[in-house]
């Protein structure tokens, strides 16, 4: 009898391990992701997560609210507006690539079946530039942040809505690749993105509080006090990888675009509120 119970127990363990290794759907991933933060920070309303660490750091929030009275990203918005309004050398402008106008950030990132890849907003901006005979902008620093700031500002209030088209299995593969990246440990410190921004969200790393992953993509580009300027999401991805002592990947390369696809999907339903200001 004891033997039978032991065998049944082993079988149950094997089944549970197998179940945990089975593929989950994006909807299931989103639900588990949300529930984690609901349990972790039960008093934080969902929409507050768009404010990043300031949703859970009351002292930092006071400083941040003071900064937001004279936002340091404002000059970048103005520069970005000028970029949007000034035509390219060939007479065309960004408006010709994006006829719906600058308030279109919620359309990104998206899966492009024809190109067979995730298209992010910075990538689309450079595709527009190159199609009109202009040099592409660098993806981490410089004027890309101006036009992204303008677009983000004009898009405030729009709702994050990343879709994973079911008719193209490559789209789901890109999402899964981004998800794999997010949960993979890397670098000499052996951390995954989830180590800091899920498992240890709200804990301190030296003098800083680790921000929750929920809401991470709503407020880019960001003026970081550390940078003394506005920078892109992929610049932050690169910085985070370097901080765990991993060699970073290329900004707007496949790895980071798929990561952005996954992470933005996890923020579906949250309002966009970029550009942002952070420590």
């Amino acid at each position: 009898m004891k033997h039978v119970f032991q065998k049944l127990a082993l079988l149950a363990m094997a089944v549970s391990i197998t179940l945990s290794a089975q593929a989950t759907t994006p909807e299931e991933d989103l639900a588990a992701f949300r529930n984690f933060f609901k349990n972790r920070f039960p008093d934080v309303p969902m929409e507050e997560y768009t404010n990043g660490v300031y949703a859970i750091d009351p002292i930092g929030r006071e400083n941040w609210e003071a900064i937001e009275e004279f936002p340091p990203y404002e000059p970048f918005i103005d520069e970005g507006q000028a970029m949007w309004e000034n035509p390219f050398a060939n007479g065309k402008s960004y408006q010709d690539c994006f006829p719906e106008g600058p308030a279109m950030e919620s359309q990104f990132p998206y899966w492009d079946k024809q190109q067979g890849m995730v298209i992010t907003l910075p990538l689309a901006i450079n595709q527009c530039r190159e199609a009109n005979g202009e040099k592409p902008l660098k993806y981490k620093k410089g004027p890309i942040n101006n036009i992204l700031s303008y677009i983000a500002f004009e898009s405030r209030g729009q709702t994050t809505n990343v879709e994973i088209p079911t008719e193209d299995p490559k789209a789901l593969a890109a999402y899964e690749s981004g998800k794999k990246f997010y949960y993979t440990r890397r670098g000499q410190l052996n951390f995954s993105c989830a180590t800091c921004h899920l498992q240890n969200a709200g804990m301190r790393i030296r003098s800083d509080i680790l921000s929750p992953a929920l809401g991470h993509t709503t407020h880019w580009p960001v003026y970081r006090s550390k940078w003394g300027t506005v920078g892109t999401l992929h610049r932050r991805f690169s910085g985070c990888n370097k901080q765990v002592r991993a060699k970073p990947f290329k900004a707007q390369g496949e790895e980071y675009r798929n990561l952005e696809y996954f992470l933005t999907y996890m923020n579906n339903g949250l309002p966009l509120n970029g550009p942002g200001a952070r420590k």
């Binding site: 588990a32 984690f36 899964e176 993979t184 890397r186 899920l198 990888n241 991993a246 970073p248």
Partner: protein, 111 residues
């Protein structure tokens, strides 16, 4: 013309000799030069292997370059130390990436 060619050759030879002087000077007294060079090559191979599985760490390539620089300056021991550390990082980076090949969702996420 022949004098110009001769002068160019002489200057080139003098410059080449000057750049090799530390190694050649070290060569005379330190039998570990060849070992250091082998260690650098081994470290580079380990770095490439880690990179092949997206497991390269931040410092590895810079350490290898620094090991080469130290060797050029005749600092053989420093070069070997850096090469050894870089090799270790390459090996560990590869093992880490391979161990992470299969996606394992963390237990704190409840489905």
């Amino acid at each position: 013309m022949r004098i110009k060619s001769f002068l160019r050759f002489t200057i080139a030879a003098l410059l080449l000799g000057a750049s090799l002087a530390p190694i050649m000077a070290a060569d005379a007294s330190d039998p570990n030069i060849a070992k250091a060079q082998q260690m650098i090559e081994k470290a580079e191979a380990a770095r490439k292997q880690a990179a092949s599985v997206d497991g390269e760490w931040r410092e590895t390539a810079a350490m290898i370059e620094q090991a080469k620089s130290e060797l050029t300056k005749g600092e053989v021991a420093a070069s070997m130390k850096l090469a050894a550390e870089a090799h270790k990082q390459g090996v560990l980076g590869y093992q880490q990436a391979v161990s992470q090949r299969e996606l394992k969702m963390p237990s704190y996420l409840h489905y």
